[in-house]
Amino acid sequence: MTTVSVEGLRVSYGKRVVLDGLDLELGPGVHGLLGPNGAGKTTLTRVLATVLRPDRGDVRLLGHRIDDHSGLRQARRRLGYLPQTFGFYPRFTVREFVEYFAWLKEMPPARIPLAVDRAIERVGLLDRADDRMKQLSGGMLRRAGIAQAIVNDPRLLLLDEPTAGLDPEQRVQFRALLREVGLDVVVLVSTHLVEDVVAACTRVSVVDGGRLVFTGLPDELIGTGGDSDSGDSPIERGYTAVLRGARTAPR
């Protein structure tokens, strides 16, 4: 079952083309999105989050076309998003912050209190739920951000570098959360940490130079790497091999 489908996506900032002719199909499961800095990971995530309007291309989220107004609103109700630079209102408590986003996501008012508590519990912040956002550490803030992303039980969850700032223990917990959520939901995790991909992702895609250069299982990515490729782990070697292949191949 495909829930995200992207065809012929082209995005440019002024003259600089960031994504060009990108096709992508995603079904339920946790998808890792790898790629060097500036490859277009964040841009792709922002397009899928409906924040950035593509120049060209056909984007369908959860069966809705995003250029259609009511379809867009329907899709957004089932969307969870954590941007890379994640803003917050410092005076809000964690609970209020998540509650506010539950309201923004047009959840039925009666369901909000329970959903808020559940989301905060799932990210392990229940004991800090009534603290102000400004009193949280960097890792806690990120977890609060994840809580707002999952509060509406999204069918499509987009996380842009969610593990940045988490300590090793929190990352282990976070991966467990990802696996649990990913059972019946499309999760797209953009990251630089390849070990996250091995540990938590069912599929992995690599973007480079605005194009999708690899998509498959993590084991397949590992398989592409040879001993001559640079990297300290099998998946790092696979990753560099894919990039090298993409850059030497004629466009």
Binding site: P90, K134, Q135, S137, G138
Partner: protein, 205 residues
Amino acid sequence: MSRRLLALHLSARGGPAFAASLTVITLLAWAGGSWLASRPYFDGPAARIPVVALAPLLAVLLIGPTLNGADEDLERSTPLPWRTWRAGHILLAALAIAAALSLTGLHKPHVFGAYALIRNTLGCVGLLTGAAALLGARLAWLPAFIYITAVYAAAPRHGNTAATIWAWPVQPSSSGASWTVATGLFILGTASYMTYGSRPRDPVR
């Protein structure tokens, strides 16, 4: 090297934007003052009270965002003699404003003209810098804004000793008490900003 550093510091703190805005305010103050002074229902220069009270405030508010850098902690960890820099920063800004605004009031400088503009610049700078030390640069504008607008809105009808003290921004420049208050505020505010800098943002984090 030091000149280069000065140029970098000024551009890091938004110096060019400050200079441009100050020019605009000076022109507005000049135009507003001339318009008011030419109204038939006012007695000459006393008509310029709105300009004298509000133009320095407006100009001084622009110093607010320049009072701290993008990352105050990062800057403070550098070996630069920050106290001297802060004091210089304030004096330079106050001098720029006082010079620009007093140009607009040179016509009859003693009755609500150039002198009162300088006095109010000093007082407002004091309120702003003191507030920056207490509340941080983000909210530094608030006390000066509230105080001056409140005093102007409620300008006392009958002068008495207490009024010349609390209503210093709307006194004629011949009132010694108003100068004492404004200068006192300036010294107090600048000294506290010089010593403590602008209060760091979100101290818990």
